[in-house]
C-alpha cells in the first residue's frame, strides 16, 4: 500500500517523539537579507503538546525502517510495525510549508538505519541540501549524526546544520552492550568528536552539539549519570545533555516489564535541575551527590545540598557575591539579579524583597537581610526539613515544571 504524506507524517512523527532534545536555542542570530528564515538565540516554542513539551522543531524520522535491534526502541528490526520513509524532497517541502506559517523554528531530522549507515546519512544530507541550496532556507536545522557513517558525510553535516547530535542512549558501556548490541560508546561519541574537530578547523567556536540519555532503563545511579554529563560538558564536547525518562514500549529480558513500568518523570525532572546546577550555578557533580547516590525525590538538588551544608548558611543577601547567593534554595537567577540591582540603593529587608516580588517561602530559612532573619526555625537540619516539607505539594509535584527546562532558556 502506498502511503500519503499525511500517513507518513503521522507515523514518523510518532516514532521520533521520544527524542527530547528539541530546543532551538543557543544559536547566533543569523539574519541575511532576503533569505527565508533566521534563527533566534533564545529559542522559541511554537506550541506545547498535551504532555506539556515545547514544540519548536519539526521533529521527524526520515524513516522508521531500521536494521538495528536496540532493546528499548519501538523501531527495532525485531518489532512488527508498519514502516515507511519520506523522500528528501517531501520532507524539505513539508519543512518550508510549516516554517512559512510559523508553526516551527526549523527541522530536527533523525532516522532509523536504512540498509546501512552511509546510505542513511546521505539521505539526511540530501534533505538538508535541498533546504539550504534550493529553498535557500536559513532557519534552524538539527540533524542526527548516524554513528558509523563516513567522515566525509559528517563533515558535510556540520556545514549544513546548526546543531548536530548523537545519542549516548545509555549511561554506561555495560548497559549499551546489554540493550543496544549494535552500538558502543566509542561508536556513538566518535561522530561528535569528529564534528567538533572539523568545525573547530573552520571557526574558533565548535558547532553546537547535544546528546540524549535514557533514564530508568538500566541500573546506573544518578551520580554516574551526572558524572558522565559533567565530563562531557568539561571536554566542551556538548552544549546540552538531555535526559529522557524511559518509556517502556517493548518486552525484553533486561528491561522493566512495560505493564508495570511508569516513566520516571520526577527523576528526569530532578536530573534536569541538577544539570542546571552543573551548567549555570557553578556546582560540581560530586557536590550534588556522593558516589552511588540518587537524587532526592522530596527536595530539589539545591535544597538538598543546602540541608547538608547548613554551616554555609545563613547568607547575607546585602553583601554576598553572586556565586554565593546562587546557592540559596528557592532563589533563581532572576531574583538574584533583582537583589544585586536593588541593594546598590539601600540595605534590603524582608519587606523590600517581598516588594520586589521575590518569593521567600524557601529562601527565608537560609538568609539574613539587614536585621531580618527567620526567627521561628534555626538552622537545624531536621527542623528545617520539616518546615520545608510542610510547605506542601509543590516541592514534589513534577507537574510544576520550570518551563525553561524544555526551552533551554535561563
Amino acid at each position: 500500500m502506498k502511503m500519503t504524506v499525511t500517513d507518513k507524517l503521522t507515523l514518523l512523527a510518532d516514532s521520533a517523539k521520544y527524542d527530547v532534545s528539541c530546543s532551538s536555542s543557543g544559536s547566533e542570530n543569523n539574519y541575511k537579507t532576503g533569505e527565508l528564515g533566521c534563527t533566534h538565540n533564545s529559542g522559541i516554542c511554537h506550541s506545547f503538546t498535551s504532555d506539556g513539551r515545547c514544540i519548536s522543531l519539526l521533529k521527524v524520522l526520515l524513516s522508521n525502517i531500521c536494521i538495528y535491534d536496540c532493546a528499548y526502541c519501538i523501531n527495532r528490526v525485531s518489532n512488527d510495525t508498519p514502516r515507511t520513509a519520506f523522500s528528501p524532497r517531501e520532507l524539505a517541502e513539508l519543512t518550508i510549508n510549516f516554517y512559512k506559517r510559523n508553526y516551527i523554528e526549523g527541522l530536527f531530522l533523525s532516522s532509523g538505519i536504512i540498509k546501512n549507515e552511509d546510505h542513511t546519512m546521505s539521505l539526511l544530507l540530501q534533505t538538508l541540501r535541498i533546504l539550504r541550496h534550493e529553498y535557500r532556507f536559513n532557519g534552524y536545522i538539527h540533524v542526527k549524526l548516524i554513528p558509523g557513517s563516513s567522515k566525509e558525510l559528517i563533515h558535510e553535516a556540520t556545514l549544513l546544520a546548526n546543531r548536530v547530535s548523537s545519542n549516548i542512549e545509555l549511561p554506561s558501556a555495560k548497559s549499551l552492550a546489554l540493550l543496544a548490541p549494535d552500538k558502543s560508546k566509542e561508536k556513538l561519541l566518535s561522530p561528535l568528536k569528529h564534528a567538533r574537530d572539523i568545525s573547530l578547523e573552520r571557526h574558533n567556536k565548535p558547532i553546537s552539539m547535544s546528546t540524549q540519555m535514557i533514564v530508568g532503563a538500566s541500573s546506573e545511579s544518578d551520580f554516574d549519570i551526572l558524572k558522565l554529563s559533567s565530563s562531557l560538558y568539561q571536554k566542551a564536547l556538548l552544549k546540552r545533555v538531555y535526559y529522557s525518562a524511559y518509556i517502556a514500549v517493548n518486552h525484553h529480558k533486561h528491561l522493566p516489564v512495560p505493564e508495570l513500568c511508569k516513566p520516571p518523570l520526577l527523576r528526569e525532572h530532578r536530573l534536569y535541575q541538577a544539570d542546571w546546577l552543573l551548567r549555570f550555578y557553578g556546582f560540581s557533580y560530586d557536590e550534588i551527590l556522593n558516589e552511588n547516590e540518587n537524587l532526592d525525590m522530596q527536595f530539589d538538588p539545591k535544597t538538598f545540598w543546602a540541608l547538608r551544608h547548613l554551616d554555609f548558611f545563613p547568607i547575607d543577601i546585602n553583601t554576598a557575591p553572586k556565586e554565593v547567593m546562587i546557592r540559596i534554595p528557592g532563589l533563581g537567577i532572576r531574583s538574584i539579579l533583582k537583589i544585586l540591582q536593588a541593594r546598590r540603593f539601600k540595605t534590603l529587608s524582608f519587606e523590600d524583597l517581598t516588594q520586589l516580588k521575590i518569593s521567600l517561602k524557601k529562601a527565608r530559612y537560609f538568609i539574613v537581610a539587614g536585621s531580618d532573619y527567620y526567627r521561628a526555625s534555626h538552622l537545624y537540619e531536621e527542623r528545617l526539613k520539616l518546615a520545608l516539607i510542610h510547605q506542601g505539594g509543590d516541592i514534589i509535584q513534577p507537574t510544576l515544571f520550570d518551563t525553561s527546562i524544555y526551552t533551554g532558556e535561563l
Binding site: 503521522t10 503538546t49 504532555d51
Partner: protein
C-alpha cells in the same frame, strides 16, 4: 490634581511638557473623564506637536538609547495605567539618570516589571503567531494581544520571511502590519473582506494538526501543564487547538 489626556504618545509628551512648564502637581493621570463624581480639579491636556517635539528632543538628549526604548515600550502596554509611573521615570531620569536603576522605588519597579511583561509577551507571540497562505501567496496572520506588539512582530517576521509579502492583523486594535515588495507599514484597518486562501492551505493545516497530535506522548499526558504554557487566550488562532 487629576490630569486628562487623549491617550496618544504625543498627548503624553505634551503632558510632560506641562508638568515642567506649568508646574502641574499630578495626583492621577486618566484617558477618560471618570464617570463617578470627582471633587478634584481636572486639568485637560491638549496634544500639541511643538510641545511634544520639544520633550522628545529633551528625552533623546538625556536618556540613553536603551532607556528611550523603555519609554516607547511602556507606551505599547496600552491596556495598563502606566502613565503616572512613566512620568516618575522621566522625572527621575532628567534629575539623575543613575537613580533609574533603583527598583526599591515602586514606580521604577513597576516600569521595569511591565517592560519585562511586554517582552515576554512578544517572545511568546514570536512562537504563537500563525500565518495562513492567501491565494496570491501573501501570508496572513490574525492576532489578539494584551499589548500593542505589532512593531515587534513586524520586525521579527520581516527578518524571517525573506521576500514573502505578509500581513499581521491586530484584531483588537484594528491595526495591521503590512509588508509587500514596495513598502513596510502599519495601517489602521476600518474594514476588511474575508480572505481567500491558497489551495494548499487546508491540507497543510491538516498536516500540522496531525503532527501536533502524533508528537504527544500519552504516558506523559499533562493537559494542566499544557494550559499553563499556552493559556486559552492565546489559542484563538492556533489551528492545532481547534481540531
Amino acid at each position: 490634581m487629576m490630569v486628562l489626556y487623549d491617550g496618544s504618545f504625543e498627548g503624553f509628551l505634551t503632558l510632560v511638557y506641562e508638568v515642567y512648564y506649568a508646574k502641574l502637581h499630578v495626583s492621577a493621570i486618566v484617558k477618560k473623564m471618570p464617570e463617578r463624581l470627582v471633587f478634584e480639579r481636572v486639568y485637560e491636556i491638549l496634544s500639541d506637536e511643538t510641545k511634544a517635539t520639544k520633550v522628545l528632543h529633551a528625552l533623546q538628549k538625556h536618556f540613553t538609547k536603551e532607556r528611550q526604548r523603555t519609554i516607547f515600550n511602556i507606551f505599547l502596554c496600552d491596556t495598563k495605567t502606566h502613565e503616572h509611573s512613566l512620568l516618575e521615570y522621566i522625572r527621575i531620569g532628567f534629575k539623575n539618570p543613575k537613580l533609574l536603576g533603583n527598583i526599591t522605588n515602586p514606580h521604577l519597579f513597576y516600569i521595569q516589571t511591565l517592560e519585562k511583561e511586554l517582552l515576554s509577551l512578544v517572545h511568546k507571540m514570536y512562537g504563537f503567531t500563525r500565518f495562513e497562505e492567501l491565494e496570491d501567496g501573501t501570508l496572513y496572520a490574525k492576532i489578539e494581544t494584551k499589548f500593542n506588539i505589532l512593531p515587534f512582530l513586524g520586525e521579527h517576521f520581516s527578518k524571517r520571511l525573506g521576500k514573502i509579502p505578509f500581513i499581521i492583523h491586530d484584531m483588537t486594535r484594528s491595526l495591521a502590519f503590512v509588508k509587500d515588495e514596495s513598502s513596510t507599514q502599519i495601517h489602521s484597518i476600518a474594514s476588511f473582506d474575508a480572505p481567500i486562501y491558497s489551495q494548499n492551505e487546508a491540507h497543510i493545516k491538516e498536516l500540522w494538526q496531525r503532527f501536533f497530535k502524533a508528537t504527544a506522548i500519552q504516558s506523559r499526558h499533562n493537559p494542566k501543564l499544557q494550559k499553563n504554557l499556552v493559556p486559552l487566550l492565546y489559542r484563538t488562532y492556533m489551528s492545532e487547538f481547534q481540531a
